[in-house]
Every structure is written in structure tokens, then in C-alpha cells.
């Protein structure tokens, strides 16, 4: 599936498919022709993806083929043992977690689950977690602390679920509780925004010693559509709102909200899951290794200072 701004790329890709269908075993000058088309494709991709607008980046972050948490789990970890339930009410499919092994590191993994096909998406509320999701996350984070396991969170959510039941079960309190408790965790926390960092729903598992973003991920206080409908009184002005809000990985790095950007392969993570996993693995390992060297006491004081500095300007 190609996005509307990828039309030029889609045209060349169609030409390539046509060519390959006509010439399944090209020889001589046909090989040169195919190579030329492939080169053109790469150039077009480079051009398009080097100049994405914030709104286009949002489309990439929401791409239906973008890697989701189960893809990251399968692509990164040699083992994953899922743990269920918040011990209070239920098991939220919009937030999953469990033990995982990343090369020589045993860790606790937690993240939003958006679901791939429609049935799954509905079961997961499209990645909009409920209070029981945040409470499950907290239970697993405390378990990780007890077992001295570092925590890696995968953030990809349009926002916390705005339902009646969610509200009645304390959506606000669940997020707030996590925000407080994450500062007391005596184990390293790495938070990685892989897709959409949807506001409070994201930060509810986002208090990290290290905060990372994939290069085409977005992270915002409100969706561009939401912002446009309030401040521009016109939901269709989402593009302008996306520009104003500064939601891209590059902006967040400049604003010192995140620590590092994980580069996506050419044309976005959806085009090459394997390369995305490779880059992600490398960065996670680097930070797991360096965080392991810090004492728990120093870890919590550093985490406090990191977030205390946000919003201080000279």
C-alpha cells in the first residue's frame, strides 16, 4: 500500500513489476534497463523521504504495514514469555508485556498493541490502552524491578482509550500512578516510540532513562487532527497543526525530549522490517549495556534530573 505522497515511487514500482512480469529472466541490455529503473526508484525514495513534511511523517508512522509490537518481539528477541493481567480487573489487549531475551540480556518488555487485522485491532482497541493496561504495565515494571530486569517499552498508540468504562475505572489515575511510580523504579528503563506517541497514553509508559524514536515516528501532546479542530476550528487543517506542534523525531531531539533517533531503512520501516529490527537491536543493546553500569540510586536521580530539565529554558 503506498501513501499519497509516494505516488511517483508507486509509479516506478509498478513499472518495475510490469517489466519483471514481461521479462522474468532479463539478459544483456534488459538487465541495464532494469537496473536503471531500480536506481530511479531508489533516487525517488531518497528524495521523498528526505523531505517528508510532519503530516507526511504522521502517515508513515500510521502506515498499515509498519512494524507493530509483535513484529518487534519476533524480530528482536530470541524468547518472549507473555504475562497477563493487572490483578485488579482484567487483561487489556491494548497493552502487552512479558519476559524477553535480547542476545545476552534478559529484560521486561511492555508496549501498546494496535493489532494487525481488523478483528485483532478491535480486540486491542487499536492500541488505545485502558486503565487495566497501564496497571498491567505497572505490575510488570515492579516485577522487573524485583528481578533486576531492565525494562524496554514500545510506544505506539493514538492515545489512551476515551471510553466510559475506561473513565470510570480511572484512566487518569492509572496514567498518573505510572508517572509517579516510574520515577521510583530502581531498574533501567528504555522507552522507544516506534509509531505514534499519542499524548498521555504514550507517556504513561514513557518515563525512560533513555527515550528513543524511530526516525519516522511521531510524538505529540495531541493529534494534529485534534489540535486542528480546536485551534484552527477545522479538522482538515491537520497538516498545519502538525507543522506547528513539532512532532517529528528530529524536532524532539532538538527540543531535548528524546535522546536518540533510530534511523529507518530507505522508504520507511514498513518497506523493510528486517533492516528496522537490525537498527533497533543495535541501539537497544548499546543503551542496555551502558545503563547496566549505573547504580540504581544514580539511575533514579538521573531520571529525575532528565525530566526536571524539560521546559527549562535559558
Amino acid at each position: 500500500m503506498s501513501l499519497d505522497f509516494e505516488k511517483d515511487v508507486a509509479d516506478i514500482e509498478a513499472k518495475i513489476e510490469e517489466f519483471k512480469a514481461k521479462n522474468p529472466e532479463p539478459t544483456g541490455s534488459l538487465v541495464k534497463d532494469l537496473n536503471r529503473l531500480e536506481l530511479e526508484r531508489v533516487e525517488k525514495l531518497k528524495e521523498t523521504y528526505a523531505n517528508l513534511t510532519p503530516w507526511q511523517t504522521v502517515q508513515v508512522a500510521r502506515h498499515p504495514e509498519r512494524p507493530l509490537i509483535r513484529d518487534f518481539i519476533n524480530g528482536l528477541f530470541s524468547e518472549f514469555i507473555e504475562l497477563h493481567g493487572d490483578r485488579l480487573f482484567g487483561d487489556d489487549h491494548g497493552m502487552i508485556g512479558g519476559f524477553a531475551t535480547l542476545e545476552n540480556h534478559r529484560i521486561m518488555v511492555i508496549g501498546h498493541q494496535k493489532g494487525r487485522d481488523l478483528d485483532e485491532k478491535i480486540k486491542c482497541n487499536f492500541g488505545q490502552a485502558c486503565p487495566e493496561g497501564y496497571r498491567k504495565a505497572l505490575r510488570l515494571m515492579k516485577l522487573a524491578e524485583k528481578f533486576h530486569l531492565p525494562i524496554v517499552t514500545f510506544i505506539d498508540t493514538p492515545g489512551a482509550f476515551p471510553g466510559r468504562d475506561a473513565e470510570e475505572r480511572g484512566q487518569a489515575e492509572a496514567i498518573a500512578r505510572n508517572l509517579l511510580e516510574m520515577f521510583a523504579l530502581k531498574t533501567p528503563v528504555i522507552a522507544l516510540v516506534t509509531g505514534e506517541g499519542g499524548s498521555g497514553g504514550a507517556i504513561g509508559i514513557g518515563v525512560g532513562d533513555i527515550v528513543l524514536m524511530l526516525s519516522n515516528a511521531v510524538y505529540s501532546v495531541i493529534s494534529p487532527e485534534g489540535c486542528a479542530s480546536i485551534l484552527w476550528r477545522d479538522g482538515s487543517k491537520a497538516g498545519e497543526a502538525a507543522n506547528a506542534l513539532k512532532i517529528t523525531a528530529k524536532s524532539l531531539l532538538q527540543l531535548k525530549i528524546i535522546d536518540e533517533i533510530i534511523p529507518e531503512p530507505l522508504g520507511g520501516a514498513h518497506r523493510n522490517h528486517a533492516a528496522t529490527m537490525k537498527a533497533t537491536r543495535k541501539t537497544l543493546l548499546k543503551h542496555l549495556n551502558s545503563l547496566a553500569k549505573i547504580s540504581p540510586k544514580k539511575l533514579t536521580s538521573r531520571r529525575f534530573e532528565k525530566f526536571a530539565a524539560m521546559g527549562r529554558f535559558k
Partner: protein, 280 residues
């Protein structure tokens, strides 16, 4: 017809009185109340108990011993990290207007004061400043007042009144949620009491951060307290919500607020709680 004339005269008198602002109309039940009575009742309707919003100075006068309030970090003001502008123009202009209108530099005033002799650190939000929205200056002041409490071993009280995080400061506003909670984690580590008072409205990023992690949660009657907006929820679930949804009373029933305290009893209740918390 004598009584027609009398009625006309009374009506005319009423009109002119309203014009002179001698009468207030309760925003909730629409009863006409003498302004003098309204002020005496701390802007609470004595017919339906509707609690009108108060500004920070009124909260100080209500809750702290006379002349005990000492402001902290008065110079901290709003910031414009995104150089934000929307269809109505630059955020900087809007912020400046709000400063002009309220005399404040941000949506919260912080300081220390005494409640019947017990010294406290306090943060008082004011809805008049950009809807009480949470932004960088707000978060910094709330953090610093909490750290002051840690340093001088004081209990901490935050009075919330907010529509949520301020969009105009973008992701920086969002980060004030964890930032303020980081400070409250320090306060907890120091074993100091933290009382969260939720007034109308306490919503969005404020309810999903400091407002909902108090040792004690006190709300004013019928205050709107919630995470997502009513309309958004109704559109999501395609159902109408009950009238009392997201009111303080609803939250008590659902387990998230300890008590609802009428404005006139608030100071005394705070004093009692502080005594139970071992403060002197």
C-alpha cells in the same frame, strides 16, 4: 390598574440593579442572588450549592491564615519553545493578553502559607490564565514548590483547575506531566503529605498527572473531573452519558476521590487532615 404598574416598577428596578451588578445570577440554577451575599458565601450559590471558580488570590484568602502567604518563584513565566502560531495568531500574543488580563505570568501561583498555624507549601492553579492549562512554566513552579516542601519538610497542597495540557507548548507541555510527578515521587520518598484539591474543572493532562496521585483527594461539589472530554467519549462509544458523569460525586462513587468538601469547610478540613498527617 395599580398592580400592573407595581409589577412594571419592580421589574425595572430589578433590571437596573442587575445593570449595577448588585445581583448575580447563579450560572447553574439561574437564581438571582445579591452580589454581597454571593461574595459572603464565597461565590457559592446557597440555593443549589454551585461553586463558582475562584482566582488564586481568593483561594489564598480562603485557605491560609491572614498575611501568611509568601509567594515563591513569582518571576517564572510562560515560554514559547515551538514559536507556536495558529489560525488566531501567535501564542506569544495570546499569552501576553492573558498576563495582562490576570496579572499572572503563568497558570499557577506557588508559595508557602499557614493553615491555622501549620506551615504548608502550596500550588494554586487559576483557570483565568489560558484555561489553567499546564505548560512549562506551570510545571516548573509546581516542581519547585514540591522541592521546597522536601527541603523544609512541609506538607504540599496543589489546588487544580485546568482544561489540561497547553497545546501551544506542544510536547514540552506533555512532559510537565512526568516532570511534576517526578517531584511528587521525591516528596513521597521524604514521607511528606501531599493533598490534591480538585476544583472545577480538573481534566486532561492535569488529572492524568499530579491531581490524581495525592495521599488525599478532596473535590469541590460538582466539580468536573475527568480525563477525556464528554463529547469525545460519547462519539467513541456512540452512547449518551449520564448527567452526573465526571462530577466530583461520580468520582467518589467510583473510588477516586476521598471526600467532597464545601468551600466554607475547606480550611478546617485541611487543618484536620494535616493534624492526622502529623503536621504541627
Amino acid at each position: 390598574m395599580g398592580w400592573f404598574t407595581k409589577t412594571k416598577k419592580t421589574a425595572a428596578k430589578l433590571d437596573s440593579s442587575i445593570r449595577e451588578e448588585v445581583w448575580i445570577q447563579c450560572p447553574s440554577c439561574k437564581a438571582h442572588i445579591y452580589k454581597e451575599e454571593w461574595d459572603k458565601n464565597l461565590k457559592v450559590c446557597d440555593r443549589c450549592h454551585f461553586h463558582e471558580r475562584l482566582n488564586w488570590q481568593e483561594r489564598v484568602d480562603l485557605l491560609l491564615d491572614q498575611d501568611s502567604f509568601s509567594e515563591l518563584n513569582a518571576k517564572i513565566s510562560w515560554n514559547d519553545p515551538l514559536k507556536f502560531s495558529d489560525s488566531k495568531g501567535p501564542y506569544a500574543d495570546k499569552a501576553a493578553e492573558n498576563c495582562e488580563k490576570t496579572g499572572m505570568k503563568e497558570s499557577v501561583v506557588t508559595g508557602t502559607g499557614k493553615i491555622k498555624g501549620i506551615k504548608v507549601s502550596m500550588a494554586i492553579m487559576d483557570f483565568r490564565f489560558m484555561g489553567g492549562s499546564l505548560a512549562s512554566g506551570t510545571g516548573e513552579k509546581i516542581l519547585l514548590a514540591a522541592m521546597y516542601a522536601v527541603k523544609y519538610k512541609l506538607p504540599y497542597i496543589i489546588i487544580s483547575a485546568s482544561g489540561g495540557a497547553r497545546m501551544h507548548e506542544g510536547i514540552i507541555s506533555l512532559m510537565q506531566m512526568p516532570k511534576t510527578c517526578a517531584a511528587l515521587a521525591q516528596l513521597r520518598e521524604a514521607n511528606l503529605p501531599y493533598i490534591s484539591i480538585m476544583t472545577d474543572p480538573t481534566t486532561g493532562g492535569v488529572s492524568a498527572s499530579y491531581a490524581m496521585v495525592g495521599d488525599i483527594h478532596i473535590a469541590e461539589p460538582r466539580a468536573l473531573i475527568g480525563f477525556a472530554g464528554r463529547r469525545v467519549i460519547e462519539e467513541t462509544i456512540k452512547q449518551k452519558l449520564p448527567e452526573d458523569f465526571q462530577t466530583a460525586e461520580y468520582l467518589v462513587d467510583h473510588g477516586f476521590v476521598d471526600m467532597i468538601v464545601h468551600r466554607k469547610d475547606m480550611k478546617e478540613m485541611l487543618y484536620k487532615i494535616l493534624k492526622y498527617a502529623g503536621c504541627r
